[in-house]
Each structure stands twice: as structure tokens, then as C-alpha cells.
Symmetry: C2
Subunit: 337 residues, 2 copies
Amino acid sequence: MANIKDIAKHLGISVSTVSRAMNDHPDVSEETKSNVMQAVRALNYRPNALAKGLIQKKTFTIGLMIPDIADPFFSELGDAVESKLFEHGYQVIYGNTKRNPAKEKQFLMTAMERQYDGLILTPDHLDEEFVDLLTNLPMPAVFLRRRTPPGLSMPFIDVDHHRAALDAMDHLIGLGHRHIGFIGMPDNSFIGNERLRGYRERMELSRLPCDPTHVETGGRSIRDGREAMERLYARHSELTAVFAANDLLGIGALEWLARRQIPVPQRVSVIGFDNLNLAELHWIQLTTMEQPRPRMGSRAAELLLRMMEDKALNPEPELFDTKLIIRGSCASASGNA
Amino acid sequence: MANIKDIAKHLGISVSTVSRAMNDHPDVSEETKSNVMQAVRALNYRPNALAKGLIQKKTFTIGLMIPDIADPFFSELGDAVESKLFEHGYQVIYGNTKRNPAKEKQFLMTAMERQYDGLILTPDHLDEEFVDLLTNLPMPAVFLRRRTPPGLSMPFIDVDHHRAALDAMDHLIGLGHRHIGFIGMPDNSFIGNERLRGYRERMELSRLPCDPTHVETGGRSIRDGREAMERLYARHSELTAVFAANDLLGIGALEWLARRQIPVPQRVSVIGFDNLNLAELHWIQLTTMEQPRPRMGSRAAELLLRMMEDKALNPEPELFDTKLIIRGSCASASGNA
DNA sequence: CTGAAAGCGCTTACAG
DNA sequence: CTGAAAGCGCTTACAG
């Protein structure tokens, strides 16, 4: 491809002038500028971003580490991040980690080597090595839908999962349910544990049974939800409600109940968490706790933008409110056994 | 961050030696290598990929242009591309175009400026300007789930949409259906039109009615499918089957039918296209034409890998076979009016 | 086995 | 308004 020298030679001027014209520098004559533009078209010239980045120490690139790009929750969050950043001229590089610790670390290394200007992180494995890498991070970063690990100081954007779980449980208990099961995420998930903590607290407060046999954890997918529901029901057929720690698990629970012809919500109510688009499908109509994904993604991008502008800045973490979305999957427990 | 000079100074050796040690060059002593490794750890040194790329003319970066990262069809395709390329040391940069013509072009410009080593493309707008950009592309490219526009010579990976539509129609007609509607994509979609062409050909071959009132096009989403089904049914309540050009449209059709309590498949059969994971949900059980996404994505990556190795290579396009997946949404038309 | 030097393609003070 | 020169952080012949 043509380079800046070719343009300079073509026009018989210096590369400095070409460079200034390309960047629309104020003190280069209009005539020169238009000559340069013409030559650029003629020679199909595109400035080399590597050279530019090397010297300017700015790549207009930000890394977005995401557990799973195919998970609708994260692809929507990513969309929000990307469109905000795009407005400001940044390109976002998705790091689709698949929740693989090695990939998470590798993404960080790559980000450093490729001189990204900033990072938005949703890691799943905050082990020592990972935190170590973060300690020496040369660019600003913000955690999204995750909390900042102890010892680090970057801001985070999240919802209060515990508070939201309390709200979900209040809804169920307010409906008169006494026998409530919990379907949760893997035990190492902070988020899953916060939601579980909310479940336990409310159950205990109301002196309702919530021993470990009422809890099934370990998954995130529809299939996991199906299997968890099956096990839960085998142990406790007296259950009239289930709190699923995310919508996918909730949908799986609904699926198992439907297969078994156990009527929802008449016999069993199900509440989810996330408010995926899927949750409003006609057959699903899942009552759930909505997390404001667009606002969260866009806010994380804003914080990062500010931090890149002023490296000394260290914004406060922010917790967003969740919202109960009532659909058809929960009903009053009164009609039940 | 520390650079190569810092390491050299720290050890009292030259940058050339450091460079060679970093790249595990055969003729540098083991002792020097281990010294360098130590210094690298001590100073937290990471080589600058911009400088490296600038000089080596290789960035180990490939661009993947995708219409919508949140569309499960494409996120799975992307996964396959990414994991194949990752094995070979490449990072993939997602270009989430949202089917926006400006974004598609911009992604191409970015790819050129940032010196990507190759491109995998799923564009939606093949206008003149776009084709022009492609003509002067300095790196190899392959089209995925798209055909190469006339005048260009890069290979493509796709399925034979027309052939697959024929197969889908054969299934419906074989089941005894005579009144079949079509729910399709926007009129400018090549893929949508190929599928529509298959529908028409088979209908005409069997002398079945397929005038424009039997066809509703213009969308891709569940919601579009719902609305199309409504319009189709309003005009032709005698329909006993519908061919939806993708699963999302098919699911929308199913949703509308369910809301109206029109039994599927007893009263109306629905066939889709894609075989999304969603299609096997208990309530949906959509019969559909499967496209082998993992194989297609991985094959596109393979072709690109080869083309990057040997720039003179120009592999042949490849068409993959689709497969009919029979679930519960289609039944024999015999019981119908 | 190691080092000095040139160069990748840009930008940016500095001088005029 | 324009140009010559230095430099960003690397790699790679070339010479020893």
C-alpha cells in the first residue's frame, strides 16, 4: 500500500506537510490540503495506524472483556458499550473469554502489547495472577457487572444483586409463597452468591425452610435450569415457587414444569433475573428482575472515557437499580395445597 | 511501561540480543536467554505490538465483519471462526456492523489502517463504493455466508439457499400441504431471495398458489414473524403451512398462532431455517433446515489461513449442505379442511 | 554468540 | 505556510 512518502514524492512536497494536511492542521494552505486529498485518492493511501499509534501513544482502541459473546445478556451490554465509545472515535475489541482463565489473562497481555487506551472488564476468575496483571496495568480500566477485587482501585458498574434478590423474594413472599426453592449459579460466582444470600436472608426472616436441599446451584444455561428444577422437585414437591438466579435458568425450570404438565403459575411460580428478550416470549412470560443493561454499558464507557482524558481521575463505583418486571409466571400461592 | 532498551540497559547488553532472546532465536546462549527472562519479569516488560507489527508487516490480527453480534446465528458462527484462528495465534477483531452501510465501510478502512492480516466478511450492503474498497484490499479476504460480488475473486463459504429451500418445500408438499405461505426477509437480501425462489419454484412445479399475497417479506426478527403471520392469515386463512425464511421469523409465526390458539401442527405447520438453539425449546420444537455453522466458520478460517500463507492462492468457493431437522411443528395436512 | 546500524511509517518540535 | 531532523520501539541483515 502507498505510504506517506509516496504521497510526498508524488506532489513534490515534504512528508511533514503531507502529515499536517492529513490531520487537518490549521497552518497548512487550503491549496496544499486539497492537493494532498487528491493524491490520497489517486494513490489509495491510508495512514498506517501502527506507526501513528507508536508515536502518538494513543491507539483509539479499547478492550472489552466479556464472558460469552453469544450470551444475550452480554451481547446487549457490549452493544451499549460499543456504541457509546464509537461516538468518541474508539474501536472496541471484544475479548470473548468463554470464562476460560487462560483466555482472560491472555486478553490482558494482548491489551498491553497492543497498547489499548483503556479496558472494560467482566472477568470470571480473579485469581492472584490475574490481580497481579491488573496491578501493573498501564491503562485505565473499569469493571462492568463485576466488583473490583480487593487491593485494586478502579471503579466498577454493577447492580446490587443482594438488594435485587431481596426484592424478588419479597414479591414471592408477598404473593403468599412459603415453600420456595432456589436455582443458582456456580458456587464461585460472586453474583450468584449475592442472589443466594438474598434468598436465604428473606427465607430466614420469614422463618421459612431454606436448608441446602432447597437450593440447587452450579449452572447458567437453560439446560442447567431444567435439571436443577427436576432435582429440586424430586426432593420437594411441596414447592410452590422457585427463584432462578438468571432468566436462562428460569426458562429451563419452566421448560421442565411444562414437560411434566405442572401448571405455571397455578401450581408453581417462577421468578427470574435479567429480563432477557427471551423472557417475553408468549410461552414463557417470565416475571423477572431487570438490570438496566444499556445504561450500565454506556455508563461504564463514560467512566472510561473520563479516565482516559484525565489519568489522575478515579471515579466512584456505581450501583444501578433493578426493576421488578411482572409477567405471567408468578401468581398468588393461595390456591395451592 | 518498560521497553526493550530498559531491559538491555538493565542487563548491560544490546537491544538486538534482547530482541533475539525474546523471540527465542536459536543462536543466543541459554544463559543470556534466562537473564533476559528474569529481567522481563522484574521490569514487567511486554513487547510493543505496534512496533513489532510495523517492522514485521504482520499483526496476527484478523477482522471478522458480522451483521449483528447479538444474533445467535452469527455469534455461533463467530465462535467457530475465532477458535480456529486462535489456535494459530491470531486475534479476531469483531466488526459488529448492525447492518449499517457506513459501519461496513468504516470497518474496511480500519482494517486497512490497522494492518490486519486478513478478513472474513459478512456484509449486507454491496454497493459500488464498498466493492471499490474491496478491489484495492491489501490483505486476503473470504466471504462467509455471503457470495462474492461480481468483479471480485475472493472465495466464499455459504450454503445453497435455493437448494435448501427446495428441500424444505419438498418436506411440506410431501406432507400433503397445498396452501403454503412464505415469510421472508427484506427484499434486498440475496439469501432471502434465494429461499423465496425455492418456495416459488416448488409451488409452481406442483401448480400450487404462490402469488404475492402468499408472500410476506421484510423482516428477520421474532416480531417481524409475528406480524407477517398475522397479515398472511388475514388474507389466507386456508393456509395449512408456512415456510419461514429463518427460525426467528418462524418462532414469531408460532407465537402469533399460539396467541390465537390456532393449533400447531394440527391446523398449521411451520418450517424454519437455521436451526438456532432456540428452535428446540419445549414450546417451540421448530422443524427447520440446519446450516452447519461450526463447520462453515471453521472452514472460512482455514481458507483465510492458507491464503495468508500463500498470497498467490485463490481457493474455490464452497457450498455446504443443509440438513432437515424434523421436530414437532410440521405434520401431515391430511386432517385439515 | 553478540552488537552497531538501518529502517518500518508516521508525528512533532524547531527553524526559517 | 513548509521542510529537515529526531524519534516512537522494535527487528534484522551485516560484520565480527
